[in-house]
Assembly symmetry: C2
Homo-oligomer: 307 residues x 2
């Protein structure tokens, strides 16, 4: 799937992943009203509004982008109805040809990791029946527990052509509290980067990148440059552009000279574009998805300017 | 809630938390048949069998234990129906007076952590309606992203008397790969232990323990002793007893001399006791919950022997 992701990045000429992280204050009133009319001001009503919101955005942007990255927390927060909305969003995006990066950041011991792996990127067996439950193509994981917490996902990577993005240097302001500690004469994120490279070294595809990728925050310019050099076969998922403050210049170092090597996420900058003064004059709340389309085009141009 | 947890440990004289981590091969045939008759060999059928299994065990053991710890992965694996089963299990256990430790090990940047916090230990607002979605009393978290990934949970800890257990030294065999690295002249787990102590220092209850606890694996005897000394106001959630290989002697050092300071988890050792040769002679599969009761009594005696 890393090859398919890179192929789609080349086809769209756009290393952008749209973060489908809905919040009720991002969803326009007319969508919420329709959802509440059906299901009330309930968890199900909220979840339904997310599905309608996501589908409209996917309809408008799917031809421009390679992938979407739903953040499971936004859906999980709403309980079972939210998880149903997460899965419905994934199915819809997949049917539009998009690669799915499930932002789940799970971490657990091997027996538990196996359950997560089966559910998210593998198959769940109920007696003689097999179910694909979440159907993500990639998922994010937190490697703090070590290799035996990550290895249970490798079977699905190899046999079902799935992929992982492991947290190496996260985009949040306090990521350095642990990730920038000095260990064995290097920074922790370099040490973990080295582990991630090793773990993925027998899963390298036709473009030279492994199915085991890394999350490298755009908000840390110098670290991105260092990690890109250190991990030539590791594809990066780069959060932090836009609403979190990073610019195209900040993350340019996460790419190779050929413009490959990373996919950059933007969530609210795209899905809530219609609320941004940059777009709110041109697009009404009813045209929120068209505003998202324009924001994708602008982001694509902004990224390609520096690549 | 840390005070309520400790109070219940004192009342039951039993620092045991039962891990409600069902798997289909733990659930006796007669339960599965009943669930499949209703819902088929489907994700919903599997989820229903978990609920029936859990409820029977809770009925038999609730008077002996202070708390249960459902592992969300087992339920999440089954999709929306699984999450509904997770919530139903929590509601049932709460109604029996048990403290709920949700083993979710989430980790994410602040805006996302806020969504997890609202869903799991806070309130989710849908316009003017407020919902308690998961209703755990405590949840486990992975602190690898630093303080700004944990702080969003503190409001619920303070205002709704909830609690956290942050991963400090996990029970899995390869936990040392990252957690035992030397940083600033100490082990990583000591460094993180220090952070966890500091983060919890203004949330200490009547028994001298903070609402911000730590996960310390029973499988690491020496580290448990060192951390118990280092973190006198931090309550420990101790996994690894039984099926993962740790003995009562291994984890005794996680307790203070007064027998407080930790709660020890056992999952399959209790919920699948009827499959263990130790109990399978005395208890048939139909008596699985009674086997679990006996396993709880045996674990309680084993722990109290060393405390």
């Amino acid at each position: 799937m890393i090859d398919a992701l890179i192929q789609k990045i080349k086809e769209t000429n756009n290393p952008t992943v749209v973060g489908l992280d809905p919040r009720l204050d991002f969803v326009p009133e007319h969508i919420k009203e329709e959802a509440y009319d059906q299901y009330g001001k309930t968890l199900k009503g909220a979840a339904q509004s997310y599905v309608m919101f996501n589908k409209a955005i996917i309809d408008e942007v799917h031809d421009l982008i390679p992938a979407v990255k739903p953040q499971v927390a936004m859906y999980e927060q709403l309980g079972a109805e939210g998880i149903a909305a997460y899965i419905e969003t994934i199915n819809y995006a997949k049917n539009k040809g998009l690669v799915i990066i499930g932002d789940i950041k799970r971490s657990d011991i091997a027996s538990t990791a196996t359950s997560y792996a089966q559910g998210h990127i593998g198959l769940v067996e109920v007696e003689d029946q097999k179910f694909e439950v979440y159907k993500e193509d990639f998922i994010t994981l937190n490697p703090f527990l070590g290799i035996d917490s990550v290895e249970p996902y490798f079977e699905a990577c190899k046999e079902r052509d799935k992929g992982l993005f492991l947290l190496v240097k996260t985009s949040n302001p306090n990521s350095g509290q642990i990730q920038d500690l000095r260990v064995e004469n290097q920074f922790m994120y370099e040490y973990i980067g080295q582990l991630v490279s090793e773990w993925g070294k027998d899963m390298i595809g036709q473009y030279g990148f492994s199915k085991i990728g890394a999350v490298v925050g755009a908000t840390h310019k110098e670290q991105g440059i260092a990690l890109r050099k250190q991990m030539p076969h590791t594809f990066f998922l780069v959060p932090g552009y836009g609403a979190q403050g990073a610019t195209a210049e900040d993350l340019a170092g996460c790419f190779n000279q050929d413009g490959l090597g990373s996919i950059v996420n933007s969530s609210r900058g795209i899905i809530a574009a219609y609320k941004n003064v940059k777009y709110s004059g041109e697009f009404s709340p009813k045209e929120f998805a068209k505003a998202s389309r324009q924001a994708v085009i602008d982001m694509k141009n902004d990224l390609n300017r520096v690549l």
